[in-house]
Symmetry: C2
């Protein structure tokens, strides 16, 4: 991936002029633009790993896979949040790891953790590097040095169990690679978050990924985890009453309780039939009611997204269709057997039709949405040099709490990011629906002020406080990382934190595993 | 419930003569019969609670709700496993709690735990008392005294959220009571294990209940847990990426990590349409393939049960139908909208029809099975005085591992329980199916030898070792309790156990919460 942007370097992406025109008109001119320094202009502080530990690590992984070169260290300095990119573009990269180690198998990971545990060297697991919450920042905690533990060499499809419909995948495998391997056999993981071209199986597991096709946590059957105290293997059966589900303790542990090296996942057959459609609701409340009823009717869709009025308007204004409809657009994506898709479409028609009293709108709208979906992160990169900052934040709550949460977070973002009389652009969509609630994903676009980093930090803090105060979870699918740590006390309470701390002490007595993440 | 049998005292149940004839013929006459002593003939050792602790507990719950009378203590001596009943019928009740406390709300539970934590008195949470694995045995661990903490007074439906389709229920509420309250509003929990007349919401949560309608764990949205270190509240949203899912740590914690006092559960509308049907497969392998394909096709059924040849034969032989079909019977129960039921039936027809090449068998078979389902535990009671012992044990594994696991456990039960040339009756059914695997539930019927307790203990140990050796989980839906503790090391490994022990120390530093259960 590019060191200072999303995606592969040189990925062709041209910013539509309609977008810039629109932003100029709504947000006015920025105070500054964000141009990146050149890679060679970034200076990293020298590595500070104890020589004996470096020697031991080289012995374990082989000298070729122990890296201290500038280029490799720079590429392991953090993830891909707006703040990450702003910092890196400015050349401020204080946090590069002292070394990057690339173990070749589970046993090497296990040995690396033992050495680092003994040496007091922080270990920061690194998968696809797409964290939006500081999850792969090489924080040192109380230690002098940190290594990034890059899982990129653990990328095998270990075995496929076609009877149980499960696959054993090494943690460093990218989803895009896993999909290629599985698609060739007529199978799919069915978990494709926006980051799927880069993100890894281990990353999904460690961060409780929710792709557009469902929660990854529900797909994980078993996993192997390396810890400084030894190997943990969890998941003997699809379901068990043999005590707490320790899979669910490792899902979301973000490298603080161990390094996931292998995951057994459920696989699905490639769907026989798919269909996408778009619906327009008169307003947000009506749209929320409609998608709630669909979820509660048990209609299984592969993807369902409901945009609020602002997002619907902006997408249409900057999109190819040009036409900006009034109301809230929902995109529904069905997949499965032909009969399943037909029944699901009929049920949607009944539920949505009754509320809206209309047919689905042109299906090109749904297709265009899907096409844009993977481009969004590139759009963010392209806006920076023009002085516009785009970022997302997300939460989830029960259906009852959702309308007030939506209003409160939107209001708070607008008030904390207003520039004089110009409010920021705040867009929102429901990205995942459940029978009992849903997630809200906010996109914010602002014109850069002179200190864009603190400009965004202030807004993020205000939004987080508002989410916590209104009963939402601080994150539905981006994980905690470093950025959400301040809200974990409100999320799980003091007793919950003590349980997490105790679990950590049990597997990581010296505390070297990803310090500063997840657990305050 | 009766002190020495399943269910309410005096529950009318007449043992069909066909059953005894059949058992005589197959198993021969027993060496002894099991007659229960009278309640007044059981002698309990005197309570040994420190007087100051007793006074504090009376202050907290009120003197009326602090019980040391013989009758109440006797009814809190354990659960309803075969071993429990054999011990109690023989008058051997060494383990009665020193007192039974009945707190009236969460705060009282919290205070009781603090007092017991300080006094070094073991606390054994008690819900419906239906444990089949020693989960409510008042073991003392290192302590001199134990109190049973009976949640029977926490039985309110606290609130219903009709928008989010969730209900807040106090932990001591029986499912049968919850269903009555919900059914009146057109709703249902949709979790009806065989014990549902007696078992409680808190019990389901603490033991990871799997009713015939699905896993209870998937229905739990939030919970409140009292611990000696304070209150834990988990579950802010239907799904969250804010670290490990602590709900899943409390689900299955069996009173060792805290006392669950309130649970927020998903509710369903009462189904518009239901249908039950039965299918006959030529053999076990064909039946397993068929139900696997059904689960993997994503067909949602409310209940699916596949009996092996022996269970199919025995059920028919002792049932009213009289006809013993050759093969393996599957019962499928559908519920939902009329369209959903119709589509699910069509899909079943396509999958089963292709494999079996036949129509469903008479639906009276399915109806009879459902009718018998709740009677089975009463049948076990009725067999004891005739000298026949019946018990169940269960496991789950991936589809790939299931055939070998089935054979190994069956063989081991038959060899360890053979009386001369007469093997025991060993029946098995698949009780829950998942896309990636299924559970196996074994029923064993034997003629009592002179020491029936050690007769069954030997068989259980042999079966447990076989399950662990063949990759199954030691329990899919009965929990660990005291009886499955010896296999927890194989279940989660040493690192897994250390995590559980650490979590326990964090919330229960003196170790008073349900000692001897779950964690070796």
């Amino acid at each position: 991936m590019a060191w200072n942007a999303w995606g592969e370097p040189g990925q062709p992406f041209s910013l539509p002029s309609t977008v810039l025109d629109f932003l100029h008109q709504v947000l006015g001119p920025p105070d500054k633009t964000v141009k990146s320094v050149r890679e060679s202009q970034v200076s990293l502080r020298p590595g500070d790993l104890p020589p004996w530990a470096a020697d031991r690590l080289k012995d374990i992984v082989g000298v070729r896979h122990f890296r201290t070169d500038y280029r490799t260290r720079l590429r392991h300095t953090g993830g891909k949040s707006l703040l990450d990119l702003l910092r890196r573009c400015s050349g401020e990269v204080s946090l590069a790891p002292d070394a990057v180690v690339l173990p070749g198998d589970h046993n090497q990971v296990q040995q690396v953790l033992q050495v680092c545990g003994n040496a007091g060297v922080a270990v920061v697991p690194f998968g696809g590097g797409t964290s939006l919450v500081g999850g792969v920042e090489p924080l040192r905690g109380p230690f002098r040095a940190a290594v990034a533990l890059d899982l990129g060499r653990l990328r095998r499809l270990v075995s496929l169990d076609a009877t149980s419909m499960t696959v054993r995948l090494e943690a460093g495998l990218r989803t895009s690679e896993a999909e290629t391997l599985l698609n060739a056999r007529g199978l799919t993981l069915g978990n494709l978050p926006q980051s799927h071209a880069f993100s890894t199986i281990g990353g999904y597991t460690a961060t409780r990924s929710s792709g557009v096709h469902g929660e990854f946590a529900d797909m994980v059957q078993a996993m192997t985890v390396a810890t400084p105290q030894g190997t943990l293997r969890v998941g003997r059966a699809p379901a068990s009453a043999a005590g707490p589900d320790l899979r669910q303790l490792m899902l979301g542990s973000e490298g603080t309780l161990g390094v996931i090296t292998e995951v057994t996942c459920r696989v699905h057959r490639l769907p026989e039939s798919t269909h996408q459609e778009a619906w327009l609701f008169a307003n947000w409340g009506g749209g929320l009611d409609a998608v709630r009823l669909l979820a509660q009717a048990g209609v299984r869709v592969r993807k369902l997204r409901l945009s609020d009025e602002a997002e619907t308007f902006v997408n249409a204004s900057i999109g190819n269709s040009g036409q900006a409809p009034a109301g809230c657009l929902a995109v529904v994506d069905y997949a499965g057997s032909a009969e399943h898709v037909a029944l699901a479409r009929e049920t949607t028609q009944r539920i949505f039709g009754k509320l809206v009293g209309t047919e689905p709108v042109s299906s090109t709208v749904a297709q265009e949405w899907s096409r844009c979906y993977e481009d969004d992160p590139y759009l963010r990169d392209a806006l920076l040099p023009a002085g516009y900052l785009a970022e997302t934040l997300e939460t989830a709550a029960s259906w009852s709490d959702l309308p007030a949460l939506y209003k409160a977070v939107g209001d708070r973002l607008r008030s904390s990011l207003a520039r004089g009389s110009r409010p920021p652009i705040v867009l929102c969509h429901v990205s995942h629906v459940y029978a009992t609630g849903a997630s809200l994903c906010f996109t914010v676009v602002i014109a850069a002020e002179n200190d864009p980093i603190s400009q965004w930090e202030r807004a993020k803090e205000a939004a987080g406080d508002t989410i916590a105060a209104h009963g939402g979870t601080i994150t539905h699918h981006h994980a905690v990382g470093a950025d959400h740590v301040p809200w974990m006390q409100q999320e799980v309470g003091e007793v919950g934190l003590e349980i997490l701390r105790a679990a950590k002490r049990a597997v990581d007595p010296t505390g070297v595993l990803n310090p500063g993440k997840l657990i305050p």
